[in-house]
């Protein structure tokens, strides 16, 4: 167990152990629980920072445990893995703060925070997985640990949403298992390697490889909410706001997108995917999802459902970026993984604030809320501008690289899709802003702000911080260790040719 | 093989099948059970024809006698609990679909049996060779108590288990006292000593001639059943620990012997050649006692009244 592998275990344990301890804590021990939560979050952030520093300087972090004959439990911290881990751990800290504020005084918080920590462990595990088996292990663990959060409220609607969530994700898991096993029986190994490990099989197993590809993509596509498999995401909005914020907008959905990235880059390799003729259909599917998600979002009056459909469409940008074989498009796709996470979590935090302080759930009730909660709506506006792709905010950077990559790869239709989706984004975000800022509040206005501040500071600061981070990621895109720099560092490894 | 003997055997085999079919098919349950007892006796005859005297004794005592008694007692209690007409419950329609299937299976089985008939292999030679060191001269008892003593240990435990299960279920309240008729009383006074003597002889003869613990135990059990029928009851103070001791002494004794042998470093149930005969006799006597007690209590059905609910 080299020193490098201890730190990997420490990263996983930093959320697993507090989680298990929190399960055992009595409900009224709020201080202890909050302390444990924050301790876990901060320690994980520090460890990840140390690993970032290490990987930037070329250290290798790998942990290998014997699990099955011929197959090990492998955790490896490559630059790609660290991108997702940093995103998860940073946003976990903020979401924990937010959840503490949001769930003030509600029942079963020990159970909530226990499963919450398990979810983050699973998503970090998904990121650090070194081979397809470990990926599958944490992928299913993520499903199992998010289920209790979806049904946390204990209402009949929550239970039904949980059932549909499980029906989708477990079917996806089964498909992924089938694909993994078939691949293992053909390839004999499942280790992720820089440009894929199935090259040797192409000549005599071509048909099988294509089928396996679609099995794997369908498996992870459920969580990445590709069109036919996205049904669970809008229904999962019945969960409390912190859950829909971190999980259904960032951790779970990103695990699916990250899965697609792993499969296309580290199982098949981009050239092979293009050669097998599967890259283009995947791009088409992603494009359809983008447009379909935006179209459905137009007609949702419930704020969180509109944001959910917007997530469905936004996550497919990553799939689109990955499917277009080219370094620039990859950068676009991967950097959108981070940017979309930042922007979408801000939107969900604001939605949560609106629901919690002024009890607004529907967009039609949002007239003039800007006056009542300026800071929250300010963050919402900034994130919305980002989603539309207006220059200073992060969204512009990823759309820029996606467009550029597409043109470089000769896929001009992608630029049209991007333009169309930007228009649709504007079509469903601007009316919200218009109502919030420029409409007078209907009826007798909103519940007055108590003690001068619009809402609890625990509820207010997280969205403002993430909004600032998304503005920073866009504005300061070129400082070292910014998401864009780190993604270019990844692209340099993934595509040998790229400078 | 004279023609006469073949004829008798064929007739006996057919008789067996016919009796069994009648026992199952007749509408009245009581007549069915009586036919079943007759079937048991005919089975004993068959065992004699197959040169298996021990088995014949066991079949007669346990198979026909005791099982019949148990069945009749159960029928009596059944009529008292649910006096439904015996006629209604037999299902007249012998559905033919399963019949066809079963006959086919039977034919297949018959073929397999015939294929084995010309040269069936057996263990007679080995048993005869080791008989000298087994401590008894009757081969069946040797196999039963020495060569495959482990089976017998388990079998006695099965009997104890059956009794415990019956007690744990507490079938129904004890029967009311039945005043013994003068004829039954006289018969009882004559038969009891004879039965006890016969049981003792069977037990003793088991070592060198057909007989043995189970047959003796069954006869003694029959004596107990007869006494119960005549209305005898154990004194209350006897129905506690003493009865429980009588029941457990057989399997308990066997187990103690096994432990003793094990502690002297021998493999499980390996009797030292010198003591083999004595040990076997000891085990047999204890077994007889507990088998008799168990069968009697099983016949009585519920726990003896005086016994505090365990």
């Amino acid at each position: 167990m080299s020193p490098g592998s201890w730190i990997l275990l420490a990263v996983l344990a930093s959320s697993l152990l507090p989680g298990l301890v929190i399960f055992a804590i009595a409900e009224r021990r709020v201080a202890l629980r909050t302390g444990l939560n924050l301790l876990g979050a901060v320690s994980k952030l520090l460890l990840v920072g140390w690993m970032l520093w290490g990987v930037a300087h070329g250290h290798a972090f790998e942990l290998r445990l014997a699990l099955l004959p011929g197959l090990d439990f492998v955790l490896r911290a490559g630059p790609l893995a660290l991108l997702f881990v940093t995103l998860s751990s940073a946003l976990w800290l903020l979401t924990t703060l937010y959840a503490i504020g949001y769930l003030e005084g509600s029942p079963h918080r020990s159970r909530f925070f226990g499963f919450f920590s398990l979810c983050v462990t699973a998503s970090v595990g998904v990121a650090l997985a070194g081979n397809l088996l470990t990926f599958l292990l944490f992928y299913e663990l993520l499903t199992l640990s998010t289920y209790p959060l979806v049904v946390h409220r204990g209402t009949e609607a929550a239970r039904r949403a949980g059932q549909s969530y499980l029906a989708y994700t477990l079917t996806g898991g089964a498909l992924l298992l089938a694909g993994t096993l078939w691949l293992y029986s053909l390839a004999g190994t499942l280790e992720f390697t820089a440009t894929g490990f199935v090259h040797g099989l192409v000549d005599d197993h071509r048909g099988a490889l294509i089928l396996i590809f679609w099995l794997l993509i369908a498996g992870v596509g459920v969580k990445a909410a590709l069109v036919p498999l996205h049904g669970w995401l809008p229904q999962a909005m019945v969960a409390p706001a912190p859950v829909s914020a971190l999980l259904h907008a960032v951790a779970v959905v990103k695990a699916g997108a990250f899965g697609i990235v792993r499969i296309v880059y580290e199982v098949y390799g981009v050239e092979l995917a293009a050669d097998l003729g599967v890259a283009l259909p995947l791009a088409a599917l992603a494009a359809i999802t983008i447009l379909y998600g935006s179209l459905r979002a137009l007609y949702q009056d419930d704020l969180k459902r509109r944001l959910a459909f917007s997530t469905v469409s936004q996550v497919s940008y990553i799939a689109l970026g990955v499917a277009i074989a080219g370094p620039i498009a990859t950068i676009g796709g991967l950097v959108h993984l981070v940017h979309q996470g930042l922007m979408k979590i801000t939107l969900f935090f604001c939605a949560g604030n609106l629901a919690e302080t002024v009890h607004i759930h529907r967009i039609s009730e949002m007239d003039g809320v800007g006056r009542r909660m300026p800071w929250t709506m300010g963050a919402f506006t900034l994130a919305a501008f980002g989603m539309i792709g207006l220059p200073p905010v992060a969204g512009f950077v990823s759309k820029w690289y996606l467009g550029l990559g597409a043109m470089q790869a000769g896929q001009d239709w992608v630029v049209l899709v991007l333009a169309g989706s930007s228009l649709l984004n504007a079509a469903y975000f601007l009316p919200i802003l218009h109502r919030a800022w420029f409409r007078a509040p209907a009826g007798n206005g909103f519940a007055p702000a108590v003690g001068g501040r619009e809402t609890g500071w625990l509820l207010l600061w997280p969205p403002v911080i993430t909004a600032a981070m998304s503005l920073g990621a866009g504005l300061l895109a070129f400082i070292p260790f910014s998401p864009l720099e780190w993604v270019q560092f990844i692209a340099r490894q993934e595509f040998i040719g790229y400078d | 093989m004279s023609l006469l003997q073949t004829g008798i055997d064929a007739l006996l085999a057919l008789g067996l099948v016919w009796l069994a079919w009648r026992a199952l098919a007749c509408p009245d349950l009581f007549r069915g059970i009586v036919l079943f007892i007759a079937f048991g006796l005919l089975m004993a005859l068959a065992w004699v024809r197959l040169e298996a005297p021990d088995v014949a004794l066991a079949e007669a005592a346990i198979g026909a006698g005791l099982t019949g008694a148990l069945l009749l007692a159960a029928l009596a209690r059944l009529n008292r609990i649910a006096p439904a007409g015996t006629r209604a419950d037999t299902r007249e329609a012998w559905r033919n679909a399963p019949a066809l299937l079963l006959v086919l299976a039977g034919a297949g089985l018959g073929l397999a049996v015939l294929s084995l008939l010309p040269e069936p292999a057996g263990l007679q030679a080995q048993v005869a060779a080791e008989l000298g060191r087994s401590g008894v001269s009757n081969p069946v008892t040797a196999v039963l108590l020495n060569f495959r003593g482990y089976d017998t240990l388990l079998e006695v435990l099965v009997l104890l288990l059956a009794l415990l299960a019956a007690w744990s279920l507490e079938a129904e309240p004890p029967r009311r006292e039945a005043a013994p008729g003068p004829v039954l009383d006289l018969l009882l006074r004559l038969l009891l000593p004879v039965l006890v003597l016969a049981a003792a002889y069977l037990l003793w003869a088991g070592a060198h001639a057909p007989g043995g613990a189970f047959q003796a135990g069954a006869v003694l059990g029959a004596a107990g059943v007869l006494a119960l029928l005549a209305g005898w009851r154990l004194q209350p103070h006897l129905t506690g620990l003493p009865l429980r001791l009588a029941i457990v002494i057989g399997p308990g004794g066997f187990l103690l012997v096994a432990w003793a042998l094990l502690l002297t470093g021998r493999p499980l149930l390996e009797y030292p050649p010198a003591l083999a005969g004595a040990l076997i006799l000891l085990i047999e006597t204890l077994a007889t006692l507990s088998i008799a007690a168990t069968l009697a209590v099983l016949f009585q059905g519920s726990r003896p009244a005086a016994e505090p609910p365990a």
Binding site: V151, G154, T155 | L116, G122, F147, Y150, V158, R244, P267
Partner: protein
Amino acid sequence: MSPVLLPDLPWEALLILLPLTGAAAGALWPPAARAIGLLTTAGGLLLLAGLGTAVADAQTLRHAVGGWGAPLGIELRADALSLVFLTATALVGLGVAVYADSYFERSQARGFWPLWLFLLGALNALFLSADLFNLYVTLELMGLAAVALTAFSGGRAALSGAMRYLLATLLGSLVYLLGVALLYHATGTLDFSLLTQRLEAGPAARTALGLMGAGLALKTALFPFHFWLPPAHSSAPAPVSALLSALVVKASFYILVRLWLELFAPLSGLEGAGTGEVLGWLGMAAILWGSWQALRQPRVKLLVAYSTVAQIGYLFLAFPLLTAAGLPDPAAWRAVLWLVLAHALAKAAMFLAAGNLLRFGGHDRIPDLDCVAQRLPLTVAAFALAGISIAGLPPTGGFIGKWLLLEAALLQGRWDLVAVMLLGGLLAAGYVFKVVGHFFTPAAAGHAARPVPAAMEWTALTLAILALLLGLAPAWLLPWLDLAVGPGPAEAVP
């Protein structure tokens, strides 16, 4: 008396005699029954550890009972295969014993302990015996003890279930005995090792295979013969149904595995594959039918009972998987043994959890489980963890078993097995999470809740956690299974 010092202690004999003596003593002196019961079960675990170390040195331990040789006397045999089943028995047995200690009131407990020790003794004797007729007697002893335990609660459903179970188990044993008779007269011996040398293909052997297979399949409740299992397992008291589903059903399966691996598969070559194929198809039908019925059950214990029918189907999927030479594929059998261990632990935990729910709410109708998630957290956790292992989802032992079996099936290109296993896993997740979903929702009418003793909750959770740990520790346990069925392909050579 540490095992290291006296390696030659006759562990098998002790493992059999201790529980039986305990039972007899319990029958003799009821007030002490509880103490004897608990001590004997714990003692059994220690003896098993001793046996384990002994088997680790000498691959197979043979113990001639009564000192006579193989053909005449009875031989006991302890090898890795029997050790797997013995471990399951000891672990589940200890868990259930501790659970039953606080489940039954004082009056009932006295009757329970002797019956339980008889069952434990019978199971140990069965797993260690290498003689066909001796197996018949142990099967009967186990059957009667199981029937008595099923009828222990005395309810109408329990009695009817027990009666149906008694008839089924007697029928199975007698058909099995018929097969033994044919084999005895064909080869002249009853011992396994001698049988493997003397048995040759012929009408007698094939009929014997058919009879014994049918008898044991009836006792293992394989699909067409599963009618008796759900009523018996669901109406028995919770600890008993845990024992029935986890252990008793596996005992007859153990005999079937022994017969198949040692006697019939190598012998029958081609037509062996025929029977293997039929058993495989029945297994698949069991998975689908069991899961489908489990999905439709409105009550937890019936659901878990039908889940047993489905999971038994998984165990039969290894029969059709043969290597090129027509011999049983060791990788598949390694997976089945793993599934046996995982299912035993998980199913026991599930039934104990169901028992807790029953005691808590007075009923086990699924829609009316009144917010038990926060009122019985340990039981809910136990049921969920066990459910995840039954459904074969990753972190648990069930997943490893399913993975190994799928791998073996894929290497032989058996697509139908793969499809059914995946679908079975999904359906299993379906009915498990149907129940787990209702843990969180409030019931229509509130129920007067009866407190559940802590020991009962903790035993259920411990068994569930064991099933989970099984999933994390394949590296150490797989070598043991290689010992049992021969090493699987170390590297899945494409």
